[in-house]
Structures are given as structure tokens and as C-alpha cells.
């Protein structure tokens, strides 16, 4: 091993880097910036994916929606009983929910209806809403809102209640009963949860109709089979299974990080072309240096090794430094500016913290996209010069 790593060549490489301090400094800075940018974007994407994956198992196993003329319509609540008769289905819940556009602020709220008698909600509510009496939700005609909704309401001088405008133009006053814990703001920021009856009134959804139906299956392996059975029974429905949701989550942000990666690759290769171009037109001084080294007995092998060490020191330093800065930028400073790429344009901005998700793949991807290519871009021109005769190079 000792024979393979020649310490004198490393010393020579360090001296060579220090001799051209401005050039080395410039290359290292640009390289660090590029690595930093790419890893930061990947880290942000990974964090959001991680956040999504954390809750994916709590989502419904099968969602049944009615599709009419290519659009989503309210579905008959009667089919609930038929769905419950399918072997393997353990429960089915009809949901009433929709989007409420609050014109004053120009934002959309997601309004979700819950049933007071559905006791499974009680425990969940107690976990995420402070000082809250679940039983009073319906009796008082009240609602629980996300942090973002509460903020928008405050900005519009609604502190204790909110007036929803019904489709017929009349108002529906709903009291504010509580606010969801800020730790859930990535999920709950634009959400309003209230009793189903009030949601029906606000959206004018007639009795006997529901927005969609959620089906629970006892054995998860039967989800696909039951989904196809439902599709056969009701051909006008769209069935979304938990597997579909997982695939959808897997796809998330491919587009945005893809566009960014494409832009980044362009800039990365421009950088390498500049390096390659600069090195292949090696300055006469650098050429003479290689010539002299050859004349005093260095082999091509030695010259290439020295160039390898030189480029490796620069690129590896820049890579590590870029990754350290990206970690700090994304997870400690919460990626100012860059995270806006992934956040929508809505007025209803979410304040959230990017959770740390370590992904070795990202680090390898960035490493192989940058370090070996830089080394190649430096070694190849030197090899071209080193293969020439010494006297020819010096002359």
C-alpha cells in the first residue's frame, strides 16, 4: 500500500495547488457552490418525501369516488351498504368534504366533515387540539381549524367565528372551537374540520349524497381484489387504493427536482468544459513544467498520478465542504429561498420545519456526478502533454 500512495507526489501536488492559489481558490469555490446547490435541492425533496411517507399508512385503504363526464361528482350514500356486503370489507365510511374559496383573502380552505358519534375521532382530536370538548363540536355548530386558516381569519378580523357564504348567498356562522397543533401544520394548515351536517349545509350537499366513500379492508392483501370488485359493481367509480397513494407519493416532486437537475447538469458540464478547455490549452508554463519533470526522469505514470492527487484534493475538499454546508443550510437554517421552489404560490403559506432524512443515495449520486468527472477533465489534457517527448514540450 505504501508503494502505491507516493507521499512525495502528494507533497508536490499540494505545492502545485498552492502555486496557483487564485485558480485553485476559484475552482474550489465554484465546485463547492455547485455541489452545495444540488445536494440542497435533493435534501429538501427527500425531507418532504420523508414527511409524506411518515403518514401514508394512516390513509384509507380504498377510496371510492363517482366520476361522471370525466369529473368528480357526489356519490349515493346508499351504495355503502352494498360495499359492506363484499366479503373482506370490515368497514366503510361515507365522507363529506370539499374546498371553500375565501374570496377576501384569495385562499382555498379544505373543509372536512366528521361524525360526532364516530368515536375513533375523539382520541385523535384530544391528541392534537388543546382544551377541546369533542362532544360540543356539533351542539355548538363549531369547527377546528389549522394554524394557517386561523391566521387568515385573524387577518380578516374573525376571532371567534367565521361566516361561510352558502351557495344561495346566505351566511352560515360557525364558531371557532380550537386550532390544530402547529406540529401538524404541514398536514393541517389549510384544513377546517367540522360536523358533517354543517359541511352539507355550507356546500349544499343533499341528504343521501356524499363526496366519496372510504373502505376498510381486514386483510391488506385483499385490497386489489376488493377494489376490482367495487369497480365491477360500480363501473362509474374511480377507485384509489393505498397502493396508488404510495406510488403517487413516490412520484412526488420528480418534476421539480428533475427540472432543477437538468439546469444543474448544464451548469456542471459548462464548468467541466471550461476546466477541460483551460487544461487542454495548458499554459506554456504548465507545459514546460511537465516537460522538465519528464526530462528529470518522471514517467508518464508519475505525472498522471500527481495530476490525479491535485484534482482529487480540490474536488474532494469541495465536495465534502459543499455537503457540510448543504446539511447546515437545509436542516439548520431551513433552506431559505430554495425551499420556495417547492412551496406553492398561495397566500396561505405553511410554516414548517424540514425533517432530517439521511439518504446515502443522494450523496453517492452527487459524488459520482462531480468528483470523477472533474478528475477526468483534469487528467486527460495532462496525459496528452505528458505523452509528448520532453524536448518537444520544453522547446
Amino acid at each position: 500500500m505504501k508503494n502505491k500512495i507516493n507521499i512525495y507526489l502528494i507533497e508536490y501536488a499540494i505545492n502545485a495547488i498552492l502555486r496557483q492559489k487564485y485558480k485553485s481558490f476559484f475552482v474550489t469555490t465554484v465546485f463547492t457552490l455547485l455541489t452545495f446547490l444540488l445536494t440542497s435541492v435533493f435534501f429538501i425533496t427527500n425531507s418532504i418525501k420523508h414527511e409524506l411517507d411518515a403518514t401514508v399508512d394512516a390513509l384509507p385503504q380504498i377510496i371510492v369516488q363517482k366520476i361522471k363526464a370525466g369529473r368528480h361528482y357526489d356519490i349515493d350514500a346508499d351504495i355503502l351498504d352494498n360495499l359492506l356486503e363484499i366479503a373482506g370489507v370490515s368497514d366503510a365510511v361515507a365522507r363529506v368534504w370539499g374546498y371553500y374559496y375565501f374570496e377576501n383573502a384569495g385562499v382555498n380552505f379544505s373543509v372536512v366533515g366528521v361524525d360526532q358519534f364516530e368515536n375513533q375521532y375523539k382520541e385523535s382530536f384530544n391528541k392534537i387540539v388543546k382544551k377541546f370538548d369533542f362532544d360540543k363540536l356539533e351542539a355548538d355548530s363549531s369547527m377546528v381549524v389549522g394554524v394557517g386558516v386561523k391566521q387568515i381569519m385573524l387577518e380578516n378580523y374573525y376571532t371567534k367565528y367565521f361566516n361561510f357564504i352558502k351557495p344561495d348567498g346566505t351566511l352560515k356562522k360557525v364558531t371557532l372551537a380550537g386550532v390544530f397543533d402547529a406540529q401538524t401544520s404541514l398536514e393541517s394548515n389549510d384544513m377546517i374540520v367540522m360536523p358533517k351536517e354543517i359541511v352539507r349545509e355550507i356546500f349544499d350537499i343533499e341528504e343521501g349524497k356524499v363526496t366519496d366513500i372510504v373502505v376498510k379492508v381486514a386483510n391488506p392483501k385483499e385490497i386489489t381484489m376488493i377494489a376490482s370488485k367495487i369497480k365491477q359493481m360500480y363501473p362509474d367509480t374511480r377507485i384509489v387504493t393505498s397502493e396508488d397513494l404510495k406510488v403517487s407519493y413516490q412520484n412526488i416532486f420528480d418534476y421539480k427536482s428533475g427540472v432543477f437537475l437538468a439546469l444543474f447538469i448544464v451548469s456542471l458540464f459548462t464548468f467541466f468544459i471550461i476546466i477541460y478547455d483551460k487544461s487542454s490549452g495548458l499554459s506554456s508554463e504548465e507545459k514546460r513544467e511537465i516537460g522538465i519533470l519528464k526530462a528529470i526522469g518522471w514517467k508518464i505514470d508519475d505525472v498522471l498520478k500527481e495530476k490525479f492527487y491535485e484534482s482529487f484534493i480540490i474536488s474532494f475538499f469541495a465536495y465534502i465542504f459543499g455537503v457540510i454546508s448543504a446539511f447546515a443550510f437545509v436542516y439548520i437554517f431551513q433552506a431559505p429561498i430554495l425551499r420556495n421552489i417547492f412551496v406553492g404560490y398561495s397566500q396561505l403559506k405553511t410554516t414548517f420545519e424540514l425533517p432530517f432524512a439521511f439518504d446515502v443515495q443522494t450523496l453517492f449520486l452527487v459524488f459520482f456526478l462531480s468528483v470523477p468527472i472533474y478528475i477526468a477533465a483534469t487528467i486527460i489534457p495532462s496525459w496528452k502533454v505528458a505523452t509528448l517527448e520532453a524536448d518537444e514540450v520544453i522547446r
Binding site: 502528494i10 411518515a54 394512516a58 366528521v114
Partner: protein, 106 residues
């Protein structure tokens, strides 16, 4: 090993140490805590709705995953890729470019 090589060696060692320390620090402070995760799951159990509230400006991207993998636009069964539909999530790439030849008109 001369002075400069030693400096280089120590620089790399410091950087690697910094990277590991940073990783350990982030892993102990910035991961989703058990309590926070339980709250998120509790909320999702109530709402039963997918996706995050980071793109709320348009109703068709808010709960994008409620469409099937094959429907780009939550309210439309079409497969085309266009801006709002792929704002956050890429469109399905598992499309048959050419349909299997089956004589449908008998």
C-alpha cells in the same frame, strides 16, 4: 510526511469529523420526534386525506394523490402533462405507448 501534507491530512480529517458530527447532531435533533409523528398520524386519521398543505392555491393540486396514477388532473381522466397537473407531482410514466391490437369492432 512534510508540514503541508500533514496540514492537508488534518484538514480532511477535520472536514470528515465535522460531517459526522453534523450528521449525528441533525439525527438527534431534527428528525420527526415520536410525539410529533403521533400527532401527524392522528390528524391524518381524522382528515383521511393525502398530500401536504404546501400547494393550496388550486384545488386540483391540493389533494393530487386522490386521482389514480393514471389521471393527471384530479378531476379529469386525461393523461396529458401540463403545468398545473405536474406542478408538484410528475405524471404517470407507465403508459402504453401503443395499444395491443384487439379488434374492438366486431
Amino acid at each position: 510526511m512534510n508540514k503541508k501534507s500533514k496540514y492537508l491530512f488534518y484538514t480532511f480529517l477535520t472536514l470528515l469529523f465535522l460531517l459526522v458530527t453534523e450528521g449525528v447532531y441533525l439525527n438527534s435533533t431534527k428528525v420527526i420526534s415520536g410525539e410529533s409523528l403521533a400527532k401527524k398520524v392522528a390528524f391524518v386519521k381524522i382528515s383521511q386525506l393525502p398530500d401536504l398543505a404546501i400547494s393550496t392555491e388550486a384545488t386540483f393540486v391540493r389533494h393530487r394523490s386522490l386521482g389514480t396514477v393514471f389521471s393527471i388532473y384530479k378531476d379529469d381522466g386525461d393523461l396529458r402533462e401540463y403545468f398545473p397537473s405536474t406542478y408538484a407531482i410528475s405524471h404517470s410514466h407507465i403508459i402504453n405507448k401503443k395499444a395491443i391490437k384487439i379488434d374492438n369492432e366486431k
